[in-house]
Symmetry: C2
Subunit: 451 residues, 2 copies
């Protein structure tokens, strides 16, 4: 979106790597953003990469590494000496560093962290103790905190020292003598205040915060609802221990949405992306497919129970895929509404009652319309009025039942604190498959003498 | 997460509404965030709401209205006199205001906007001209721009005047005489600079921007990749016309994920949420269900082609739901990976080739494992070795074909610039249904003499 795209810069950068000194090179590279540095790095040859890493300063290296995939991160750190590595790890955001370290063995971790400043390595080891997907795990210590007795001009002094390491400067968090969070001051308020005012006078005492053990999805909801750029993280006694910034929350939201989709499509909890190896992708998909295989066999067993009916009227088999497919589909349609609703909204009793009533109405409407439709088609196709009536009335019943199953089951799972997305995609398709076959063959068997 | 929850404040607020003057009330309400004001408002009686609206100042009202649902917004604005309404609309973020106005009739719009400042109403009308889901539509004019010849101390002066209306203060955008965007200065850089330095000296000239007609999803990707808090919007000639902030992008990402899920589950483009009326929900779901009905009939027709095979070996019907179900499922598993991959990643030729190779391997692995498994089960259940072999080899073939279909079809749709999510959920299930029946009955018919 710039006059000159990144790709057009690459030849110049390669040239400058060959010809220039580190200082000349800095003049060119200075204005590139970290994500661009990572992209540039990936387009260089091995030799060029070595010089590139040598020419970048520690801050640029730390920022760039944060934007890389895990394999690249390890590769780059492996090319640097221990002293430089330690400096870079000190400069990295702790939450990103925790993710980097997380996938390494204990030995590799220690090897990398040797030489880091105590304070930094302590903090990282500390956040790695929190369970995955909690606030404690994604928080950073790159923020500005202010003792409550400071004046505005004290704060401005402190800021000059801290601003280069702070991840966000939108809010300054105010703490008391025991490091407990007591308020927040926005930069706005600070700029508009007089130098002599104290922080307590201009701070907002109603500061939103999250406990360290809060689920990252809850944190995301708070940040989204309140349009925040960051939120402080506190321990049970109110001690300020870190902040979570909106850029990490963006990643959380994208990942959670991916997970919802993959769970609904039965690829299991662990996510599969473009980089996952075939064996791993297959291994993650297999358990679900095997489960679905057994479930498919239950449908088969139901059909086998009605074998005599089917033998007498083979034409019943023609409508089986349509009825099972539509029942499954109306169920997952309802499910999709619930899953995403649960991800962003609160669920009160009146909301549930209204939702159930609505889905019942929806089920009846689509059932009656599709049922009449298929009855006519079946009659015309097979020339058998009773077959038409059996197929039509079955579809009405299965669509109503299927719609309700797609609504009720995820709500029950939610009440039981099972993540509804993980269990209900395949579960609902299956239940609806089985229900639709029982209803269809049940009705058909009842009217067998007319068929 | 505060010592006292919002609900615990409500009685005090009600009390204060009854007893106090506007000034006393302000002391209590001052520190509440806009989203909380909206929640408080919704918990008051009609009488209390009237006083509440009277006691809040224009800025609080504007902020609160931005956090409300559309119906509530109209309700609140309807209770205020025209002068106050105009003041509030002037203060609202233009992107939020555009959304509010968008659902009104031309008359209602004019009625509401009468009295607004020309500059503000012009800007809003301007952004409403851009197509939905583009950068121009979600941009705001609440940002700070700086002529390039300013010194640092000029900027600090200007800031004091502008900071109360700016939506984000992380970046100041630098423009030349023709209002063209030439750089960006972070607050960090500004705080660390000397008062006498000029902006050109400390600005970053490689400023990322998006064109007004960029798709909002592209904007979201840029903001996410580069970890930005805001991005400037420019016209084709580089003129700065607005900025897009990360809080709006959070909403975009959540909405796009919802849409992906709903499209994959065939509820169509228009989204259904907890508030959608039954008739509308049914109307949006029906077209897809009717389509699926016809598609289900195609499966029926295929079965009817193989009627003789089925009549001779009715047991073939027992395995039909399992084979069709698993083939459909492996297809949507692959689809889910592609859809979300496309939402966040770039698609180059090598990526596509690697992806196809991987999915082929995955298909073969899961096909062979599930195939052998079901062959054994079918043999044990039905006591017929050839039936076991037919079912097993069919499942191997259909799982490989189904996995590839789930990968190739969305990629082709993407190349053809059809949104792969909208067409491929039901499309892939259907194609896989049909393919699986043809393969299964085809193989069965070939070996009919042994069954």
């Amino acid at each position: 979106m710039n006059a000159r795209t990144l790709e057009q810069w690459i030849p110049d950068i390669k040239e400058s790597l060959k010809a220039s000194t580190s200082t000349d090179f800095q003049r060119i590279i200075d204005e590139f953003l970290p994500y661009d540095l990572a992209r540039i790095h990936s387009q260089l040859s091995d030799m060029e990469q070595a010089r590139f890493l040598q020419f970048l300063n520690e801050e640029q290296l730390a920022d760039m590494i944060q934007e890389m995939e895990h394999d690249q991160q390890i590769d780059v750190l492996g090319r640097l000496d221990q002293e430089k590595t330690a400096l870079i790890l000190d400069l990295m955001d702790n939450d990103d560093l925790a993710i980097l370290l997380d996938e390494l063995s204990q030995e590799q971790k220690e090897e990398l962290m040797r030489g880091m400043r105590d304070e930094e390595s302590q903090f990282v080891q500390n956040i790695m103790k929190f369970p995955p997907e909690t606030a404690g795990r994604i928080m950073t210590n790159r923020y500005v905190w202010i003792p409550q007795h400071y004046t505005v001009s004290d704060v401005v002094q402190k800021l000059k020292a801290f601003v280069s390491i702070a991840e966000t400067i939108n809010y300054l968090y105010v703490i008391d003598q025991e490091r407990k969070l007591v308020g927040v001051v926005s930069y706005r308020a600070l700029i508009l205040a007089e130098p002599g005012e104290t922080i307590v006078e201009i701070m907002n005492g109603r500061v939103l915060s999250v406990p360290v053990d809060a689920d990252q999805e809850e944190v995301a909801q708070l940040i989204q609802k309140y349009d925040l750029v960051a939120i402080p993280v506190v321990e049970a006694d109110g001690t300020l221990v870190g902040i979570i910034t909106v850029d990490d929350i963006l990643d959380v939201i994208v990942r959670e949405a991916d997970e919802d989709i993959q769970k609904m499509n039965a690829t299991g909890g662990k996510s599969i992306d473009f980089h996952t190896k075939a064996v791993n992708a297959a291994a993650r998909r297999l358990p679900w497919l095997i489960l679905l295989l057994f479930i498919g066999l239950i449908s088969g067993t139901i059909i086998s129970v009605f074998e005599q009916t089917l033998e007498q009227v083979v034409a019943l088999a023609f409508f089986m895929p349509m009825i099972a497919g539509m029942t499954g589909n109306t169920g997952t349609q309802s499910l999709a509404v619930i899953i995403r609703g649960l991800a962003t909204k609160e669920l009160s009793r009146p909301v549930v009652v209204r939702l159930l009533a609505r889905e019942l109405k929806v089920g009846i409407m689509i059932g009656v319309i599709c049922g009449i439709f298929i009855a006519v088609i079946a009659y015309i196709w097979q020339g058998n009025l009773y077959l038409g009536l059996v197929v039509g009335s079955s579809l009405i019943a299965t669509l109503i039942v299927g719609t309700m199953a797609g609504t009720v089951i995820p709500l029950i799972l939610f009440k039981l604190r099972v993540d509804p997305a993980v269990a209900s995609g395949p579960l609902i398709t299956t239940i609806n498959d089985i229900l639709s076959l029982i209803i269809y063959f049940g009705i058909a068997t009842l009217f067998l003498s007319y068929l």
